[in-house]
């Protein structure tokens, strides 16, 4: 063990109380940073998961129909009011050719065409407004894992078999095997058999979504052979927006990512990140000030010893190294204790904040990256905090230090 380390360790051991205080400070600081960061990451991951549990990452639609003014406003002096055109239900042009092209786009994991439109679900005298969603079940389950949310029957679509939400089933008083009539504004209707009932965790969707085969939806919505939307899943959910923009550019269609649809959620997450970032910065500052102030006192207390070591041939740099080592060691040791503390906090959190069924609401994500990053920041903070006291120690005049008697 080199001289500097021996002296640093011995000084730390000798000043037990100070070492304990400084270690405690670093540990609490690190625990707070790790726990809060993990908490927010866990919360955000859970929020995103819940949001995307019932949503495609990207939805492609046909472009909006624009009004074409009969008179060119640039060449003629007219006071015209151009009214926006009402948007009718249309199919995406050449969607069958488009599908493989979109599926091959970078980052796209799954694609699912869908024919969707408004309808009434009727049984007896009850009539409920619903959204008919005609899908290919094999493709669709890779967009929204609805087969995992079934409460009765199964997610099976074939012929006139359909799947409805739990709220709609309640409203219409139907269960698996019962029949429901679907009537569309296009003037078509058909009777479907309920093959399964889902609970996706969203009351509105549980009330409105009715899944049928693509073919049946095309007939009901008067979209022969057409689809109104194509839904996509991408590998990196936070790259959905640029991916959507690229698809829009390349196809001329409208492509909307979940990030745009949920702009508020993303803004809230950003604000959360800003506030945790602020907390992190201030906790780090407080820890740094704590280390620095204890080390400054240490240098004053050890003036005499430093003077003796200097008189015995220890150079300024080596004295500096002793105090830098002290700062670094307490930071690192405190980080380790703090990480253990954070792990304990996570356990407690997961046990206290639970759903009705006893599963944790969400578990703070404390990964190796987070822990190691925090250690690195703590170490750097310790060294920087020790720099000033270390410099002061190195500049002590041995004669003055010895004179203290």
């Amino acid at each position: 063990m080199p001289f500097e380390l021996i002296v640093a360790l011995r000084f730390l051991r000798e000043g037990r109380m100070q070492t304990a205080l400084i270690l405690g400070g670093v540990a609490i600081g690190v625990a707070v940073v790790v726990f809060i960061t993990g908490l927010v990451q866990g919360l955000q991951a859970s929020l995103v998961e819940r949001t995307l549990g019932s949503q495609a990452h990207i939805v492609i639609r046909p472009p909006e129909e624009k009004a074409q003014p009969a008179v060119d406003r640039k060449t003629a002096d007219v006071a015209a009011r151009v009214e926006a055109r009402p948007q009718r239900l249309r199919s995406i042009d050449q969607w069958e050719a488009l599908l493989p092209a979109v599926a091959r786009a970078p980052g796209v994991v799954a694609v699912s065409p869908m024919a969707t439109g408004a309808a009434f679900a009727q049984r007896g005298t009850a009539s409920k407004s619903v959204a008919v969603r005609g899908v290919d079940p094999e493709r669709y389950r890779r967009i929204v894992r609805i087969h995992e949310d079934m409460v009765a029957g199964e997610f099976r679509l074939s012929g006139t078999d359909g799947v409805i939400g739990i709220e709609l089933a309640k409203d219409l008083g139907v269960t698996v095997g019962d029949k429901v009539r679907l009537a569309t504004p296009e003037g078509r209707d058909d009777v479907i058999t309920v093959a399964g009932i889902f609970d996706i965790g969203n009351k509105d969707l549980n009330q409105r979504w009715v899944f049928v085969t693509l073919k049946l939806a095309q007939t009901l919505l008067d979209l022969p052979g057409g689809v109104s939307t194509i839904e996509l899943t991408v590998s990196d959910i936070f790259a959905a927006e640029p991916a959507a923009a690229r698809i829009e550019r390349e196809t001329g269609l409208l492509a909307e990512s979940w990030m745009k649809t949920n702009a508020q959620l993303l803004a809230a997450m950003r604000n959360q990140n800003i506030s945790t970032g602020t907390i992190r910065v201030f906790v780090t500052l407080v820890v740094a000030l704590g280390i620095a102030s204890v080390l400054v006192v240490w240098v004053v207390q050890k003036q005499k010893e430093i003077g003796i070591l200097r008189a015995m041939g220890a150079g300024r740099l080596r004295i500096m190294a002793v105090f830098l080592l002290q700062g670094g060691m307490v930071a690192l040791a405190g980080s380790m204790v703090g990480s253990v503390l954070a792990a304990v906090l996570v356990r407690i959190f997961a046990r206290v904040f639970v759903n009705a069924d006893g599963t944790p609401m969400f578990v703070p994500e404390v990964g190796a990256t987070l822990v190691l990053t925090t250690w690195a920041v703590a170490l750097l903070t310790g060294l920087l905090a020790a720099a000033l006291p270390a410099r002061r120690a190195a500049q002590l005049d041995p004669v003055a230090a010895i004179r203290l008697g």
Binding site: M1, P2, F3, E14, I308, A311, G315
Partner: protein, 249 residues
């Protein structure tokens, strides 16, 4: 006896020291000191308070630089050395004994004795330990090797400090009032110990002391008054004006 002597271990030529240079309160403490200490000499540095003894000792000990003049320790000119060179020369050629033992409380007696060697070589080894134990044996404190300074008496602390000063086997040891804090009996013991090392290992000692009785037992008394050496600038075999009791104080 004087003709065959080698280069003195310590030579000061025209050393001046001023404080607050360039300010209205500039004060010259040492006014041109010429002094030499031979190898194996045992010299006392005496003089009234405020005569500049401590400043002179600090300059000899390479802890302070003179404003003018030259300092040569073990044949090396110190005024041309930078901070690092000075620190290294100090560590290797000079041992220090202070009035207050100045042992490092966090370390045991043995570790304190090892400290100068540890500083010099960077990391501890078995030889260092053996060396330190041997020195502790020579000062009669082998049994106290594992004790912290706070567990030792004043005399024992000072003996550990002497062992520490000798651990690098320096050719010269500087002692600043080494017995100033001890009772007469213990002071005698410490003085005898230093004399023993002086005669057994040929280590030169320069001892600053107020104790006339002890000064009288030194080979030579270098007397400083108002920043000038009034007696004992050269060893007695070169200058005949110093005999025991000849001081005017």
């Amino acid at each position: 006896m004087s003709a065959a002597r080698p280069e003195p271990i310590l030579v000061l030529e025209g050393v001046r020291k001023s404080y607050n240079v360039g300010t209205p309160v500039e004060a010259e403490i040492l006014h041109g000191i010429d002094v030499a200490v031979e190898r194996g000499e045992f010299a006392a540095l005496i003089g009234p308070s405020g005569s500049g003894k401590s400043t002179l000792l600090n300059i000899i000990g390479l802890l302070e630089r003179p404003t003018a003049g030259k300092v040569r320790v073990a044949g090396r000119e110190s005024t041309t050395l930078d901070e690092t060179g000075l620190t290294e020369l100090r560590g290797r050629t000079l041992g220090f004994v202070f009035q207050f033992h100045h042992l490092i409380p966090a370390f045991t007696a043995l570790e304190n004795v090892m400290m100068p060697m540890l500083i010099d070589r960077g990391r501890p080894d078995a030889a260092m330990r053996a060396n330190a134990l041997e020195l502790l044996g020579e000062v009669g404190l082998e049994a106290a090797a594992g004790k912290k300074p706070a567990q030792l008496s004043g005399g024992m602390q000072q003996r550990v400090a002497i062992a520490r000063a000798l651990s690098m086997r320096p050719p010269i040891v500087l002692a600043d009032e080494p017995t100033g804090n001890l009772d007469t009996h213990t002071a005698d013991e410490i003085f005898d110990l230093m004399r023993r090392f002086n005669s057994a290992h040929g280590i030169a000692f320069v001892v600053v002391t107020h104790d006339r009785r002890l000064a009288a037992r030194c080979d030579r008394r270098i007397e400083l008054v108002d920043g000038q050496i009034v007696r004992g600038a050269a060893p007695p075999w070169k200058e005949e004006d110093l005999r025991p009791g000849a001081r005017a104080d």
